[in-house]
């Protein structure tokens, strides 16, 4: 006990120095544009992604600066100034303005594609291990910055898509003021009104107006130029080559973007109109999956998850503590990556084709998410058994499985909880009588108020119990019951097995200590 306190104290005392050493190691190894993979990049194009990415970034900045000359950042002129850029500025048959704008737009798309590919390369090859965490963080951060730069950039066009995407994006933070009361400090955070304040800071007011365009114009530069300044400072300090690709590769990337820009002129859409939301309305391609996800979720949860997804990726990176980097030896993390990719593609496909059944799909997706994790876990389980030469029950992590199952059941719970009391046959039978009674006092009484009354005044009529629910009960209902039972069972058995295992290990440690202490002479 005393030893434990002593070690804890020493650990605390040395914490700053330990952290500094940890930080310095990662700072030294931090890789911006794959400059530490010069040899690999000569044979493996996946390691040229960093260089190509920087090159595309430069193309976007240069074309952006050219566009700045002609663009007018005022709500009533922005759309037409873009129209003018698209049409008027010609060199023979080639519309130069349209080409430059295409370079800017498709270059930004290429930036996001390359950044995504690079993040995936680092994820699947476990490149963030052995002290390379910062390289991964930088790669992910720049992907996010690229996406936000896109979001702030396409409001500047001032078309319908831009306006509604901005509105959705600016309404997001207001949900951060609606933390539930059971969350520690939730009501304090709500009281500070920081969500609404964030929205107002973004928009420069309570609505999307001229101030918003000015701010987004400024953010659009900032998001590109501030990281660039820091990158250049590091390049200056270290003196490495920014792009590990030859001139032909640069030319090829430029030619591809330019060809697309000429063949498919960047779309302009219809001018923004705050009075009409077109149906359907879509976002830019990299937000499509997120947009579909928003349909399926409670908005508070969706906001928190959207903010949390990058942090979740970073957290799960730090959970991957094993040194193994080979594909077959880290299946859980592979499946997290594959799952993310599958959801991105599947959700984008679904929203483009207008397929969404809000009442059926959400639990399905949540279950598949759990299934990916379970598949990864089972493969990893097999690998650990083989690696350590252990029996299957010796490497079984019951809490991991329990966690996945709880997560799988949670969404089902959420999706059917709200309607459960209306599926209670007894409650439904009594509701009209109560409603009639309530309507004598208040003619505007609603069925919901009748249900509330029943819940309050008939404690033995448990409205959350669906025993004897009618033939039209939702298909997920049985699943919900099964999940609650499975949840409780797994947590209980996990606790029993875990405690047993912990006790056995403790007594083994004590026995080993006693055996070690015995040969020592008395009084030494």
């Amino acid at each position: 006990m005393v030893d434990a306190i002593r070690y804890l104290f020493l650990g605390l005392i040395h914490a700053p120095a330990t952290f500094l050493a940890w930080f310095q190691e990662r700072w030294t190894k931090m890789d911006l544009f794959d400059e530490s993979h010069v040899e690999e990049s000569k044979t493996n194009p996946w390691f040229s992604l960093g260089g190509m990415w920087y090159w595309v970034w430069m193309l976007v900045i240069i074309s952006g600066v050219v566009l700045m000359i002609y663009y007018i950042p005022v709500t009533d002129q922005a759309y037409h100034s873009i129209e003018r850029i698209q049409q008027n500025w010609r060199w023979g048959p080639v519309a130069i303005g349209s080409m430059v704008r295409g370079l800017h737009k498709y270059g930004a798309d290429a930036f996001i594609i390359l950044a995504t590919m690079r993040v995936y390369r680092m994820w699947f090859t476990g490149e963030y291990k052995q002290g390379n965490e910062f390289s991964f963080i930088i790669a992910l951060l720049l992907l996010i910055i690229g996406m936000y730069s896109g979001l702030t950039g396409y409001l500047l066009i001032w078309n319908q898509r831009a306006l509604w995407a901005t509105k959705v994006m600016a309404t997001f933070p207001t949900y951060l003021d609606q933390n539930p009361a059971w969350l520690p400090g939730g009501s304090l955070i709500n009281w500070t009104n920081q969500g609404k304040t964030t929205a107002q800071i973004l928009l420069g007011g309570t609505s999307i107006g001229p101030a918003t365009v000015t701010r987004f114009y400024a953010f659009h530069f900032m998001l590109s130029f501030i990281p660039l300044i820091f990158f250049e400072l590091r390049v200056y300090a270290r003196g490495f080559k920014r792009m590990n690709i030859n001139h032909w590769a640069k030319l090829a990337v430029f030619a591809v973007v330019l060809a697309i820009a000429i063949m498919i002129p960047a779309a302009q859409g219809s001018p923004a109109n705050p009075e009409v939301t077109p149906n359907p309305i879509l976002s830019d391609w990299y937000f499509l999956a997120m947009y579909h996800f928003l349909k399926l979720q409670d908005p508070y949860l969706a906001t928190v998850l959207t903010v949390a997804i990058p942090f979740l990726v970073l957290t799960s990176m730090f959970l991957d503590r094993r040194p193994e980097r080979a594909w077959g030896q880290r299946q859980i993390f592979n499946w997290i990556g594959i799952g993310g990719l599958i959801y991105f593609i599947a959700f984008s496909f679904l929203i483009l084709n207008g397929i969404a059944d809000l009442h059926r799909d959400a639990p399905l997706w949540y279950f598949s998410m759990g299934a990916f994790l379970l598949t990864g876990y089972i493969q990893d389980w097999a690998y650990v058994m083989k690696r350590d030469g252990k029996r299957f029950y010796e490497t079984f992590h019951i809490f991991f499985v329990a966690f996945i199952l709880v997560a799988m059941s949670a969404n089902t719970l959420y999706h059917y909880f709200g309607e459960i009391r209306e599926w209670n046959v007894l409650g439904k039978a009594q509701m009209p009588g109560v409603l009639a009674h309530l309507q004598q006092a208040n003619p505007l009484a609603t069925p919901d108020m009748a249900y509330d009354w029943l819940e309050k005044n008939r404690p033995n009529l448990n409205l959350w119990l669906t025993k004897g629910a009618g033939p039209d009960k939702p298909p997920g209902m049985q699943l919900w019951v099964v999940h609650v039972i499975a949840w409780l069972g797994i947590i209980a058995s996990g606790t029993v097995i875990g405690l047993g295992r912990w006790g056995r290990r403790k007594s083994a440690e004590a026995a080993a200590l006693a055996a070690k202490a015995k040969p020592k002479p008395q009084g030494a």
Binding site: W164, A199, I201, L203, G204, T206, S207, T277, L358, L444
Partner: protein, 211 residues
């Protein structure tokens, strides 16, 4: 040692006003970021959405005689903005709907009409008044139960609101437009109104959304 200590003390003393000045400058800049701050602690923590908008007549009762007659209108809400005019009118689209008599309170003539802001309380898109059940099922993923009636439905994330049903909202009381499908957390934001000389007159709007 004493000398160095004195030097540190003097340096700290002289740097305090500099730090203070920097903080003051930064605070002014940061307050400038947030345009609707009116000042004081209250202004910091609970910004008002409106700076004082005029009363506006939006519909005549003669336009809304049959059940499910509706009118869409634009209400100009003025709020403090970072602009040379200091104040900016945000266009808040709205709906007035004449509710069938079975859902109204015979003693209260105002209950025949519901007036809502068309800004979806989910993520701010402008929702529609959809009369055909086929359109609701096809475009908004909601099959209304029989007997069917019109609904409010948002094209962005497919929230559907039932104008005949009400839901309790914190601090606002019972509001019409219970969410029957989709991710919206609450009924549409309302507008307070009065009936004057056969006109529906808007007197104020519920705040909190992004206009």
């Amino acid at each position: 040692m004493k000398v160095i200590q004195r030097r540190i003390f003097l340096k700290t003393l002289t740097s305090l006003p500099i730090v203070g000045g920097a903080v003051l400058a930064a605070s002014a800049l940061i307050r400038y970021f947030k345009p609707t701050t009116v000042g004081g602690l209250e202004g910091l923590v609970a910004p008002p959405d409106e700076a004082g908008s005029s009363i506006q007549a939006v519909a005549a009762l003669s336009e809304l005689t049959q059940p499910w007659d509706f009118k869409d209108f634009i209400y100009i809400r003025k709020s403090v903005e970072y602009s040379s005019r200091k104040i900016q009118g945000a266009k808040i689209p709205g709906f007035v709907v004449r509710i069938p008599d079975e859902f109204t309170d015979p003693k209260n003539p105002k209950s025949k009409y519901i007036v809502v802001q068309r800004i979806c309380p989910h993520l701010g898109c402008t929702f529609n008044f959809v009369k055909s059940p086929e359109e609701l099922a096809g475009g908004y993923n909601y099959k209304p139960p029989a007997p069917t009636h019109p609904y409010f439905a948002c094209p962005c994330h497919l929230s559907v609101y039932d104008p005949t049903r009400k839901t309790e909202v914190n601090l606002q009381g019972l509001l019409p437009g219970k969410v029957v499908s989709g991710p919206a957390p609450r009924p549409p934001r309302t507008m307070s109104f009065e009936i004057k000389d056969g006109q529906i007159v808007i007197t104020g709007t519920e705040g909190g959304g992004v206009g």
